[in-house]
């Protein structure tokens, strides 16, 4: 049994079909890149996996369960927007996470705070976009989760911060956990993913091991992406 199993997953927004009978299985112990043009269904898929959208058809199994109460304790989710209020400090956010998530490791959070060179007492409203993104990554990756769903963790931040964030992800993901991260910046995630899933019009058009693809196609993931979506 795979950690994530999706069968004929469909989702409509009015008349727009966001996911179209999507099938996908993902195993633990991997860092998987989720790529596709805007509107290909990346965020929709992650939201369903994160139990933020129950209005879908088809079958979704996360560690054997439907998204909901059971899966929320093993899934750590990074939204593509800031879920924290502006008036909060990083310290306050850490306290909230510690209070509500049994798998939250405060020591790890403090380590990452240092690693990202963030000040715990600083308010989010006084932080740059990249810093706020780092706070969220810090919170999400400090949970000892089975599955990390990261929606665009590096978009909208400067290249130096991208590297730091990716290093943060590599250092925290445990050996058995699954990291599924969506992005439209494939070059940046290229060396850190071991699997890639390309979405288009709500379907999986390619799901392959990154190095196997490089060996067989002699192409970088980015080049393959451009070829497929040209």
């Amino acid at each position: 049994m795979s950690l994530i199993e999706l069968k004929d997953l469909s989702k409509n927004y009015g008349h727009v079909r966001a996911l179209d009978r999507l099938n996908l299985n993902l195993d633990g112990g991997r860092i998987v890149g989720l790529a596709g043009p805007n509107g290909s269904g990346k965020t929709t898929l992650l939201r369903i996996l994160g139990a933020f959208d129950a209005a879908y058809s088809g079958e979704v199994r996360i560690d054997g369960h439907k998204p909901g109460l059971e899966t929320r304790s093993i899934v750590s989710y990074l939204p593509d927007k800031t879920a924290l209020s502006d008036w909060m400090t990083a310290n306050q956010a850490i306290a909230i996470y510690k209070n509500f998530f049994a798998d939250f490791d405060e020591g790890r959070a403090r380590e990452m705070l240092d690693f990202f060179k963030l000040e715990g007492s600083q308010k989010l409203s006084q932080m740059s976009k990249g810093m706020r993104e780092k706070v969220q990554i810090m919170l999400v990756m400090s949970r000892d989760a089975k599955i990390y769903l990261l929606d665009e963790p590096i978009s909208g931040v400067d290249p130096a911060s991208r590297k730091t964030i990716l290093r943060g992800i590599i250092s925290q993901a445990s050996e058995n956990s699954l990291v599924l991260l969506s992005t439209h910046l494939i070059q940046d995630i290229e060396p850190i993913v071991d699997e890639i899933v390309f979405l288009d019009y709500g379907r999986v058009v390619l799901h392959e091991q990154a190095d196997k693809m490089r060996a067989e196609r002699g192409q970088s993931l980015n080049e393959a992406f451009e070829e497929i979506f040209a």
Partner: protein, 127 residues
């Protein structure tokens, strides 16, 4: 230290080549304990599984051994390392000869060029 990976080639192979170079040049000395997978992954900013695969490949080539409890070590068998160095040197030489031939150089020209520039090349040459 980071490597500029060529994204068109499998990254585990490029990592393997890099590790081999570390062994040949002695940056990784015989019998030395190899850093953990996670730390190597962080150093080179690559996926831990990719590092794992490159290290397994290193073991398969008898360039490293892993001990269940103590971790992974560079081989102490100097013969294997010598062999690796020979292979590597031969490959580079062949590359040079191929390039020289494509420039229509004959053997004497090529050798004299090597002699002429040998001493001008300063510092250590990394592979």
């Amino acid at each position: 230290m980071t490597i500029n990976f060529d994204n068109q080639r499998p990254i585990y192979i490029q990592l393997l080549e890099h590790f081999q170079a570390e062994i040949i040049t002695g940056s990784w000395s015989p019998g030395q304990k190899i850093t953990s997978v996670r730390e190597l992954a962080l150093t080179y900013e690559v996926n831990p599984n990719t590092v794992q695969r490159a290290l397994s490949e290193l073991e398969r080539l008898n360039l490293a051994q892993s001990d269940r409890t103590r971790g992974r070590f560079v081989t102490e068998d100097l013969e294997v390392i010598k062999e690796l160095r020979r292979d590597s040197a031969r490959q580079m030489t062949e590359d040079y000869i191929r390039s020289a031939k494509s420039l229509q150089l004959d053997q004497d020209d090529a050798l004299s060029l090597v002699k002429k520039y040998w001493d001008e090349e300063e510092g250590g040459n990394t592979l």
